[in-house]
Amino acid sequence: MTAIAERGHARPVAPPGVTMAAALNQALADALSEDETVLVFGEDVGALGGVFRITDGLAARFGDARVFDTPLAESGIVGTAIGMAMNGLRPVVEMQFDAFAYPAFEQIISHLAKFRNRTRGRVALPVVIRIPYGGGIGGVEHHCDSSEAYYAHTPGLRVVTPATPGDAYALLRQAIECPDPVIFLEPKRRYWSKQAVVLDHAGATLDQAVVRRPGSDVTLIAYGGTVGTALEAAEAAAEEGRSVEVIDLRSLSPFDDETVTASVRRTGRAIVVHEASRFCGYGAEVAARLSEQCFHYLEAPVLRVTGFDIPYPPPHLEEYHLPSVDRILDAVDRLQWQETRPAVKAGG
């Protein structure tokens, strides 16, 4: 796999770039334009344009029959989206924040994920649930959860998370066209990151990881909000003579083994980076897969750089919790370099 995407994420981008928020808005607008069965609804998505303004201007442009506010009940939003999809529509619903999606959990797990299976393929539910997730914005409690493992653990759901504006557009368009239900996790700390990119989803796929930065010594596996952090760490490591490859998973379920194992078999070392807590976190799945599929290629145990196993901390303490460049670099240093090689390879 040679999908080496734009590498501009870690570099400052010239002003005429597009933010992730604008890219998501454009994706919704284009989907609404091209497919009259697409609906957008949720809390405050109408006149306000969403608390993060992702749906800004859509109600005015497409009318309140297609873009509308709902009563304040997340289970109601997902439950009615299921019924609308049964009746031929393609709902794209917004959960206002990660932790506020939990009231919808039963509808997502017991119905959205299972309807196709329990009806033997007769009822498909092409529903997209957009969820702003993760920390790094100084949010108060219940506004910063990384809830991806709950969804990724559930058969029948696809779980996708973009790290760049270009991917935000392409993946959301793909998600809306997908016949399976998609949990679309938006890293809210990257909403305002910019990228000079042409928004397009031709040829994009919903289930492929991408190498954001090629390297030869160690593979950093990240997604969503931590991709940028991993790229910064790779840049810093390069100055110390280590060549670090960064993979952006993009699809958490299904998992792209091909891209990840090809990289780790080449580098022999791997670190998974995510904001979510470590115990039973997504990194545990990645580490297990690498031990199953890359055991004889590994020079060191697969490490995890993650949030601690604590409830999400208050804003003034979150910097100690979130994976940082230094914490990633420390993990890189712990990958048993001395035991297997006489000296650190120069130049990377």
């Binding site: 009563p71 009940a73 609308m84 696809r158």
Partner: protein, 377 residues
């Protein structure tokens, strides 16, 4: 079937949303027509159809319970005693309407026209839904209670957005009215004026928990006013009255006048399922009291008194029900082959690489077992 229900005026004033103080009724317990009812008695053809379908439904229900004793059904939640609600509500739907049933509503689904064997596919343990929901517009039987109320609102609102003349009726029990999704669904339906009928069969118990421990509302129908949903309280053992109120609610929804909440007062004669022991939480006297208010006897006495039905017709109908039960027994006793490959089908539109790999793991396991004389013997 001709339209029979009078158009009950409904407004937005709180008083107009409230149910009547006593349940709406068309037939007294002895089958006599009620003298002054707010409802119009359905036509003779409808009454005969209600009676016929109730006979067939009851025989289906007792056959299903018998199949649990023979190990052909994993479990069966009987609706015996609720035939008036199960049949009356479903016959009032039009072909283009949707039905959202629960696990206790097998009778209703059969009444809608679904093959009984397909209805029992869930309960015999073959697959989670044996029928095509689009064929008769019947959603899969819902086991997590009240979640289907929201699906019904979604289907109905989508129909309205698409300009379709479709009403969705969701069936739920007294216990399910305590769930949060019922609250959300009534609220969403009212705000959107979605064409939905909430048909609550209050059969007195949620497994073992009596209504008094479930709700302190004056009646479950009274809950409607808080959402701005007009509500009706009906005698759930009076098939004619159930038919009339549901038909009225369907007509109102179809005319763009939004949802209706109906509470049908009835009783679950059998235990929760064949696996339950109802003697632990209720007295036989209570059951006997409700057996004396049998919904099938009520409409039969009415039809006999009016000369619309006679004993030979009843005998012919019973024979028809026996033949259907025998056919159901025969088909349910046939052993079915189960394909392990079905496990991996329809999880996603296309199987993921992981699922393909796991299917190979299972194939290897089965092949090894077939080669192992200890296992294959």
């Amino acid at each position: 079937m001709a339209s029979v229900a009078r158009d009950i005026p409904r407004g937005r004033e709180p008083r107009e949303l409230l149910p009547t103080g006593t349940p709406l009724r068309l037939l007294e317990a002895d089958g006599q027509a009620v003298r002054h009812s707010d409802l119009d008695l359905p036509g003779d053809d409808v009454l005969l159809a209600l009676h016929r379908k109730m006979v067939l439904a009851r025989r289906f229900d007792t056959q299903a319970t018998a199949l649990t004793r023979q190990g052909r059904l994993a479990v069966y939640p009987s609706a015996r005693g609720q035939e008036a609600g199960e049949v009356g509500a479903v016959l009032a739907l039009r072909p283009q309407d949707w039905l959202f049933p629960t696990y206790r509503d097998s009778m209703a689904i059969v009444c809608r026209g679904v093959d009984p064997v397909e209805v029992l596919t869930l309960l015999r343990g073959d697959w989670h839904c044996g029928y095509d929901p689009y064929e008769f517009r019947v959603a899969p039987q819902c086991t997590p209670l009240a979640t289907n109320t929201l699906h019904a609102v979604g289907v109905a609102h989508a129909a309205r957005l698409k300009g379709e003349d479709t009403v969705a009726m969701v069936m739920l029990g007294d216990g399910a009215t305590s769930e949060g999704d019922t609250h959300a669904a009534l609220n969403f339906a009212a705000v959107w004026q979605a064409p939905v009928v909430f048909f609550v069969q209050n059969n007195g118990y949620a497994i073992s928990v009596p209504l008094a421990k479930q709700s302190a509302a004056p009646s479950l129908a009274h809950k409607g006013v808080g959402y701005g949903v007009p509500a009706m309280l009906v005698d759930g053992n009076d098939a004619a009255a159930v038919y009339a109120v549901v038909q009225d609610a369907v007509a109102a929804a179809a005319q763009g006048r939004g949802p209706t909440l109906i509470e049908a007062l009835t009783y679950r004669i059998e235990a929760h399922t064949n696996a339950d022991d109802a003697t632990r939480y209720r007295d036989q006297d209570e059951v006997d009291g409700w057996l004396a208010r049998d919904p099938l006897a009520r409409i039969r006495q009415h039809l006999l008194a009016r000369g619309l039905l006679d004993e030979p017709a009843i005998a012919a109908l019973d024979a028809e029900a026996e033949a259907e039960a025998a056919a159901l027994r025969r088909r349910m006793n046939a052993d079915r082959r189960h394909d392990p490959a079905d496990l991996f089908r329809h999880v996603y539109a296309e199987p993921t690489p992981d699922l393909r790999g796991q299917q190979q793991e299972l194939w290897a396991e089965l092949a090894a077992a077939a080669d192992d004389p200890e296992v294959s013997r």
